[in-house]
Amino acid sequence: MSFPWAKNYEPKAPLMRWLDEKLPMPRLVYNAVGAGYPVPRNLNYFWNFGVLAGAALAIQIVTGIVLAMHFHSSAAGAFDSVNGTIMRDVNAGWFLRYAHANGASFFFIVVYIHIFRGLYYGSYKPPREMVWLLGVVIFLLMMATAFMGYVIVWGQMSFWGAQVITGFFSAIPGVGETIRVWLLGGYAPDDAALNRFFSLHYLLPFVIAGAIILHIWALHIPGSNNPTGVDVKGEQDTVPFHPYYTAKDGFGLLVYLALFSVVVFFFPDYLGHPDNYIPANPLSTPAHIVPEWYFWPFYAILRAFTSDFILPAKLWGVLAMFGSILLLFFLPWLDSSPIRSNTYRPKARIAFWVLVADVAILGYCGGSPASNTYIVLSQICAAYYFLHFLVILPMIARSERPTPLPNSITEAVLAKHGATAAAH
């Protein structure tokens, strides 16, 4: 679906006309990212991050497929094939490995900005609930994929990460330990676990790609949200995706690739943990087990539970950690305010920035040792995280007086830039 003023695809060359009749692929592309998709004229640079996430996934799939051609998926060979063969002997192997490892970090940076963009501008609200739900599904798939990718390198952090994460399942009352052994295919992470993680690490990115197609499909039915959060009223509010946003996204992509290159070429190990350059040793735990940075906030929530209360502390930690993500599925119904953009919601805007700070502090705690100060800080911040979504946001929606909304996107744009435009 699209707006009535969307341009129709009209193939001119005979070959394109023939193709349009047999397999209308160019028509699909035209209607998705061409002039066939009218988009609000006021999108800011935060709207680049969807395309950047797609580019990040493409980089991961391409580098991942070729790395798999050199990877040995066995407990005896995995570490050496990554740190020996690929880094030293395979032509450009070092580049592909660093691009893949840092690509994961960049994928998460981009996706976190994309998620917070959605939170700030109310992109999760009707009529785009399905877009949000599919987004949360993609986020969960990304977390599973990133975790398994980190494990198969088979360094010390990989091994103990696998031990700890699969240890979550042993928190299930009664059958937990059986499930853990079943997941690992043994009593501790070993060949069986490594091989199944490798198999799934290769599979899931394609599942993510499928979920992204659904995510975009669901987005193109109501059309894109915009910084005012006001619905598109007419043709004057939109511009065709191509060339306007292909150009803007193209510029964003170049900036992204420049930053990515700086990290890949100059700081390739900055985002990783040095202990992962030690081969996995099942008989020695690192002094302080930490996941990759993008899991720190969730890890802090897991560690925030230290004493039993009806249920064992371990089960609480695991439930809260999964709950903190599953909670996002209910967000469209928890925040019932009819105003989408926080630009016009003074209280919700403050709550948003407090949440950003809260998640940042949780992240900092998750990356720090489990000493008392950080545990208490994570407890406060974990409590606030749940409070924000379950209490504060629903309450604000009821009590807040939004500032006046513009009548249309065009009116908002002219109010901002009209004076200068008239002067020229």
Partner: protein, 190 residues
């Protein structure tokens, strides 16, 4: 169809019941093989993830106790997991016995956790029951925590001299695997 039932009013009960019986047969005929086929496919697909025979075959470990002096501990491996073997001193045994069992999170006496007459040999998995890290305390000079047993620095679980959980997030005592003394100085685990 409507005219059918109107023109043969006497037969209408049959007309109504016949399709229903047929529907039931159809559903049953499809459902049985579908469920059977589903189970036949799912069982191997799920069960393939259980430990394979070669993993299960590594399931016993023999330990020689002759060189472990009182107060010493060694770390060895059992089913690719760390195994703690500790020769407790009389003081450590007394400390473990002094704890009221009712006050423990996972109530067990040292007696229940060791073999008869071998109360000084404490053999447990070295796997923290919180999230599976290896606690400190088996090696000389390790931090043994507040209760003199084992200490997991990752999330702060503290175990006493009988390797029972005393403080922190771990829900259970360090697990005692199945083992037996094959001679006074040899233990077979598994």
């Amino acid at each position: 169809m409507a005219t059918d039932t109107v023109s043969n009013p006497g037969e209408s009960p049959d007309h109504v019941s016949d399709p229903r019986r047929r529907d039931f047969l159809n559903i049953a005929a499809v459902a049985f093989p579908a469920v059977g086929g589903g189970v036949a496919v799912l069982v191997p697909l799920i069960n393939q993830m259980s430990p394979s025979a070669d993993v299960l075959a590594q399931s016993t470990t023999e330990i020689d106790l002759t060189k472990i002096q009182p107060g010493q501990g060694v770390i060895t491996s059992f089913r690719k997991q760390p195994l703690f073997v500790r020769n407790l001193t009389p003081k450590e045994i007394a400390e473990a016995d002094a704890v009221p069992v009712g006050s423990l999170r996972d109530p067990e006496t040292l007696e229940q956790r060791t073999k008869d007459g071998k109360k000084n040999w404490l053999i447990t998995l070295g796997v923290c029951t919180h999230l599976g890290c290896i606690p400190l305390g088996i090696n000389e000079g390790d931090n043994r925590g507040k209760f003199g047993g084992y200490f997991c620095p990752c999330h702060g679980s503290q175990y006493d001299t009988a390797a029972r959980i005393r403080q922190g997030p771990a829900p259970k005592n360090l697990a005692v695997p199945d083992y037996k003394f094959t001679s006074p100085t040899t233990v077979l685990v598994g």
